[in-house]
């Protein structure tokens, strides 16, 4: 049974950061449809270890994130696992809306003139949250863009599918490591809307269940099993049940 620990609705175009505890869940809901949630993760014990989009994609042979995918750190561990997902396609290659693009595309709505209705970029949002932990622009890696579907054709040309974002879409992450989590609800950089899309996002923190033998992420790919074994080494846990048989599982390359 997952107990609700905390609930907060981020207005569109805002940012937040929090410390997730290992084993707990972060559930994001696109309340009205059309949301984008930028996310970055860092290991609070070693801020140089962070979410690594290229490792995440290549280890799982995917260009998109969805149910069953783990979010890898650059140190070969799973920072979080996508254990529930009703959306099915989340981007992690397009990065952030920059301050420059935000002003060019949506105009300059400053805090002075628009108060909380100002148009803030994902780049500025992350810089604000990074600064709270002694981090800065050098630490800003490629982020996840939850609820944003970006398709590539055979020639690599990208298409942002703005019909994909349905109201009520939900994604749930189980944190496999303690993590500093940075979030923003600013528009995706490939969103071509002429008016700043301001879409609120419900954020829920819940208690999680231990990883079971039948875990969707553990079994999604043999790489995920090995990444979770690297987590076990990092935390020096006693051997969990899911590794009793096949802990040294080989991918059969």
């Amino acid at each position: 049974m997952n107990a609700l620990l905390y609930e907060y609705t981020m207005p569109g175009g805002h940012h937040w950061s929090l410390r997730m505890r290992r084993g707990n869940l972060l559930r994001l809901t696109d309340v009205a449809g059309g949301a984008n949630v930028g996310m970055l993760c860092y290991n609070p014990e070693n801020l140089l270890e962070r979410y690594n989009a290229p490792d995440t994609l290549k280890a799982q042979h995917t260009f998109r994130l969805g149910l069953g995918n783990c979010l890898y750190s650059d140190m070969g561990r799973s920072m979080a696992s996508i254990i529930e997902d009703s959306h099915g396609w989340h981007d992690t290659v397009c990065g952030n809306l920059s301050k420059r693009q935000c002003r060019e595309q949506y105009g300059h709505h400053s805090y002075q003139t628009h108060r909380n209705g100002w148009t803030l970029s994902g780049e500025e949002s992350f810089l604000v949250e990074l600064g709270k932990y002694g981090l800065g622009e050098r630490d800003m890696a490629a982020n996840v863009n939850f609820f944003s579907k970006v398709i590539s054709d055979d020639n690599g040309k990208l298409h942002y599918d703005d019909s994909a974002c349905q109201a009520g879409a939900q994604v749930t992450l189980r944190f496999d490591m303690d993590a500093l989590v940075l979030l923003h609800s600013c528009p995706h950089p490939l969103n071509r809307a002429s008016e700043y899309p301001r879409r609120r996002v419900q954020v829920q923190l819940l208690t999680g269940d231990p990883i079971s033998d039948g875990d969707v992420c553990l079994n999604h790919r043999p790489e995920n099993r090995r990444a979770l074994e690297n987590n076990r080494l990092y935390y020096q846990d006693a051997r969990p049940s899911f590794l009793v048989d096949g802990g040294q599982h080989d991918s059969g390359k």
Partner: protein
């Protein structure tokens, strides 16, 4: 798109072979052109660029991908920095496609991708760690090791969101040329990867050549 160069190697001011498993770190001045040649074919050159005057500004795979609306790099691509500025232009390319999504191999990710016993195998990120440790004059540390370009590497993306590590489309003598728009630090690992077909399981040397203009 294949675009051949009019430059001749005899006019290059500098030529250097980088063996597989070795790194290169150096400065390319604004207006200078760097050619990377895949001497024996099927090699991946994992490369990062930084603004030499302020390395906090660096090559950004995400900004480059977004600005050109395409995941692959080739002739005509402009490499964009983390501050949205053009850093280098790809002015010639006889390979046709280069990857900037797949990142660089690491001993840690090798344990995940292949087997826990592969931790001991040499990797690009280990080469970069040695490069920045042996060349403190560039002011780089691990937080600067970000998402790179894999020259000569073919990572096809499918319409349904798959990602494949295909056999290289490069061949002996194929090259890519880049002209710098600002003074840049070039940090390259000539990939020692033995576990997948990006190197044809046989890492080989690349050659760097630099022209003044």
């Amino acid at each position: 798109m294949i675009r051949e160069s009019e430059r001749t190697l005899s006019q290059a001011r500098e030529r250097q072979v980088v063996d597989a498993g070795d790194y290169y770190i150096g400065i390319l001045r604004a207006g200078e052109t760097l050619r990377i040649t895949d001497l024996e074919g099927n090699q991946a050159a994992d490369t990062l660029f930084y603004n030499a005057a302020d390395p906090a500004e660096r090559y950004s795979a995400t900004d480059t991908i977004c600005q050109q609306g395409n995941v692959y790099l080739g002739a005509g691509s402009v490499l964009i920095s983390s501050r949205g500025n053009p850093m280098l232009d790809v002015v010639a390319d006889t390979c046709g496609r280069h990857d900037t999504v797949g990142g660089a191999c690491a001993s840690e990710s090798n344990t995940v991708r292949y087997d826990l016993a592969r931790r001991c195998m040499h990797s690009c990120r280990d080469s970069w760690m040695l490069a920045i440790a042996e060349h403190e004059e560039y002011g780089l540390d691990k937080r600067d090791i970000t998402h790179n370009i894999n020259f000569f590497m073919n990572v096809p993306i499918t319409a349904d969101g798959g990602l494949q590590f295909a056999d290289g489309i490069s061949a002996p003598g194929k090259y890519v040329e880049l002209t710098a728009r600002m003074d840049v630090i070039v940090l390259m690992s000539n990939c020692p990867q033995l576990n997948n077909p990006c190197n044809g399981y046989n890492p080989t040397p690349v050659e760097l050549a630099v022209w003044d203009h």
